[in-house]
């Protein structure tokens, strides 16, 4: 047993997928994210919780440089993906986003067929050599998105014709199709009913086996259900970060405790 120990340690350090150090975000004059340090592990679901406007979505969008599309947004500090700073000049945000996929709050399928929705990413990144290849990718992604059985007979129908929950799973499948390493989810269930929510939650748990998943959520129950690690943000600060069980049962910071028990937020 003893010689297992060093090995375990190595795995632990290797396991860090994303690590942010001293991350600051400004929207014009507003200091939205203040000095956040966080380490996101591979094959783990990390949940960001906190009251509205606390900066959790902003921070999530820093992880794949989606904030670049906002003119007045400025990011300082380091965010390392596999040890490489993603805000380095030589990193192309477009390629980064292929590696760090994103699912949004509101399902946003493109006004195209279900097939084309999934094939969109693989096509622009040239992941498929032939139509047959693409077919395989589409089927695999839809299966991973737990929606294959529902849509396999109508792949040529528009994706916008699906129900809300199906649309969101389609969007997850679409994100998965580009073979990302990290999957960012910005309140993926907030527009869904309870049944669709539980389907998506199950899916998130399955996705953990292949990806590192980061999820922003307003629902503390959801965070408790799907995540292994939880980060609590408040007013732009990362207040507490740790094991989900520990955060919810035995938080160290009084602010976390107040939020979880419903006194702030």
């Amino acid at each position: 047993m003893n010689d297992m120990r060093p090995l375990e340690r190595i795995v632990d350090t290797d396991n860090i997928k994303i690590s942010a150090k001293g991350c600051q975000v400004y929207y014009g004059e507003t200091h939205a994210i203040k000095d956040v340090d966080v380490q996101i592990e591979d094959n783990t679901v990390t949940a960001f919780i906190g009251p509205s406007g606390c900066g959790k979505s902003t921070f999530l969008r820093c992880l794949n440089r989606m904030n670049d599309t906002i003119d007045i947004c400025r990011v300082e500090g380091e965010i390392l993906l596999d040890g490489e700073n993603i805000y380095d000049k030589k990193v192309d945000p477009v390629q980064l986003r292929a590696k760090v996929g994103m699912v949004f709050q509101k399902p946003n399928p493109f006004p195209k067929s279900i097939y084309d929705n999934i094939a969109y990413g693989p096509r622009i990144h040239g992941l498929a050599k032939s139509k047959a290849d693409l077919d395989v990718i589409v089927e695999k992604s839809l299966r991973r998105g737990a929606i294959w059985d529902e849509v396999k007979d109508r792949l040529d129908k528009p994706g916008t014709g699906l129900s809300g929950g199906q649309q969101q799973r389609l969007c997850i499948a679409r994100a998965v199709a580009t073979e990302p390493e990290v999957l960012l989810m910005d309140e993926p269930c907030s527009a869904l009913d309870p049944i669709a929510t539980s389907q998506v939650e199950e899916l998130i748990d399955e996705l953990r086996t292949q990806y590192s998943v980061v999820i922003v959520t307003h629902s503390m129950q959801q965070a408790a259900r799907v995540s292994q690690k939880t980060a609590f943000f408040h007013l732009g600060n990362l207040v507490e970060f740790g094991e989900t069980g520990q955060i919810f049962t035995n938080p160290t910071d009084p602010r976390t405790e107040s939020y979880i028990s419903g006194r702030i937020g």
Binding site: T69, G101, G121, I124
Partner: protein, 487 residues
């Protein structure tokens, strides 16, 4: 009493109705508006509406229908022989109208006394002279039946006006009185005003629609008249357009239609890519500051009168093209007025239509679509090409078809830029002409209005109207069909 006075009196009664109805309503609850069903001003509005609405409606109908009724009655009283002697009853009635107006003017100017104007046995030569003195254009000496008819018409007009004034003012007073009677605490004045507003809006909408119907009908009757004297098979079958006002002209629509389509296609080939790319730049790449300056600047293009574009084509673009494609250059072009000249300038005119509409439509594509695409690692141009443009496509098609309708209906640029020769040719450097330009030249010529050479203008207009209508319906269909693609 002049109409303006009647109108002002009705408005005055309405204002009085407002004040009285409002006060009576307030008085019915002891000046505490909280006990009223509606706000006090609603009772006032009701008073105003009741007084003015019916009265003004009757006024308008009377003004339109009155002269028609009188004319019909006067025409019926004309001796039968006189009508046969004149070319047609219309011409004779026009003469009667002129004399009647002349008598009015002459009395107003003091050339004739009222008694002399009404005197049925007046001296005709003297009357003609006096009317001419009063500035009335009279084609021939006034004859007895015409004078009688004119006098009868004057008389009838005067009676009609008096009765109109009495009826309208009585209606206004009655309406105001009714409203004042009803202005009680429990009366739902607010709902009445709401209904009144609704009918006012309905009225405005139906005027727009009825005008369209009227335009179509006026085109239609003349078109039918044209096809009665000129065979439709020739009009739609002949490939030659050579009107000669002496008769024996060939009026085939194809050379004109071809010119219209050719020039429009060139214009769209210029306007659609430039306009669309400008719209994409403005909506996707330009900073908000630049956009707020550049978009109005681009829209200034739309405000330039088309005659100015025509001059631009004639003075600048034509000579420019000649210097490149003319005898000193490639030798394809004989003169500055050509399909290419008009097409290019018309294209420039259409750029703001395409760009401004497309820009709005591209902006309406939800940001979530773009985020979704960027989140998958697509570049900006990939996102625009594969997500934004397909989502905006129905609207863009609508914008393009709207621009096409404009191009087809454009006249001034064609007159100045494309020449006047109707011919079927594929060479874009030759002069051609369009349907609209020919409508102008056919109607402004010296031709007898009843000749096919003049009436053909209506058939051309009708054809053009149907083509643009089809285009618009098609645009509407496209937009409806694809409108709900994203949501």
């Amino acid at each position: 009493m002049p109409v303006l006075w009647i109108f002002l009196i009705v408005l005055g009664i309405g204002a009085l109705g407002y004040v009285v109805a409002r006060q009576r309503a307030l008085a019915s609850v002891g000046n505490d508006p909280r006990h009223l069903h509606s706000l006090p001003s609603y009772y006032g509005y009701m008073g105003f509406l009741f007084a003015t609405a019916t009265a003004l409606l009757v006024l308008i109908i009377w003004l339109i229908a009155g002269p028609m009724v009188i004319e019909k009655r006067v025409a019926a009283n004309l001796p039968a022989g006189v009508v046969e002697q004149a070319a047609s009853q219309n011409l004779l009635m026009a003469e009667v109208r002129r004399v009647a107006n002349g008598l009015d003017n002459a009395v107003a100017m003091g050339v004739l006394t009222e008694g002399a104007a009404s005197n049925a046995r007046a001296d005709l030569t003297d009357m003609t002279a006096r009317l001419k003195e009063a500035g009335q254009v009279i084609t021939q000496n006034v004859t007895v039946p015409v004078l009688r008819a004119a006098q009868e018409m004057r008389q009838a007009n005067r009676t009609s006006k008096t009765w109109m004034a009495v009826a309208v003012i009585a209606l206004a007073v009655a309406g105001a009185a009714l409203a004042v009677l009803r202005a009680q605490k429990d009366f739902r004045a607010r709902n009445v005003v709401e209904r009144g507003v609704r009918w006012m809006l309905v009225g405005a909408a139906s005027i727009a629609i009825l005008t369209t119907v009227g335009i179509v009908l006026s085109l239609l009757f003349n078109t039918i008249e044209f096809f009665r004297i000129y065979p439709a098979s020739e009009f739609f079958g002949s490939l030659t357009w050579s009107p000669s006002f002496g008769g024996g002209s060939e009026l085939g629509i194809w050379p004109l239609l071809w010119g219209t389509l050719y020039i429009s296609i060139i214009a769209l080939l210029v306007a659609v890519p430039i306009g669309l790319f400008a719209a994409i730049y403005l909506s996707e790449y330009a900073s908000p500051r630049l956009r707020s300056v550049a978009k109005p600047l681009l829209e200034i293009l739309a405000g330039i009168p088309t005659i100015v574009y025509g001059l631009f084509a004639l003075l600048t673009v034509g000579p420019l093209l000649i210097s490149v494609f003319g005898d000193n250059g490639l030798g394809w072009m004989q003169s500055g007025t050509a399909v290419m000249t008009a097409g290019l300038v018309m294209g420039i005119m259409l750029i703001p239509f395409v760009s401004s509409l497309s820009d709005d439509i591209i902006n309406a594509v939800p940001q979530a679509m773009r985020d979704g695409s960027y989140g998958l690692g697509a570049t900006q141009s990939e996102t625009i090409r594969q997500v934004v443009l397909p989502a905006a496509l129905p609207g863009i098609v609508g914008a393009v078809l709207l621009a096409a309708s404009r191009a087809i209906g454009e006249t001034m640029i064609v007159v100045l830029g494309a020449g006047a020769a109707a011919r079927l040719s594929l060479n874009p450097f030759e002069a051609m002409t369009t349907v609209t330009a020919k409508i102008v030249s056919q109607l402004t010529g010296d031709a007898d209005f009843a000749s096919p050479e003049a009436l053909v203008a209506f058939a051309l207009g009708m054809t053009l109207f149907i083509i643009t209508l089809c285009l618009n319906v098609f645009a509407l269909y496209i937009v409806r069909k694809y409108r709900e693609q994203y949501d």
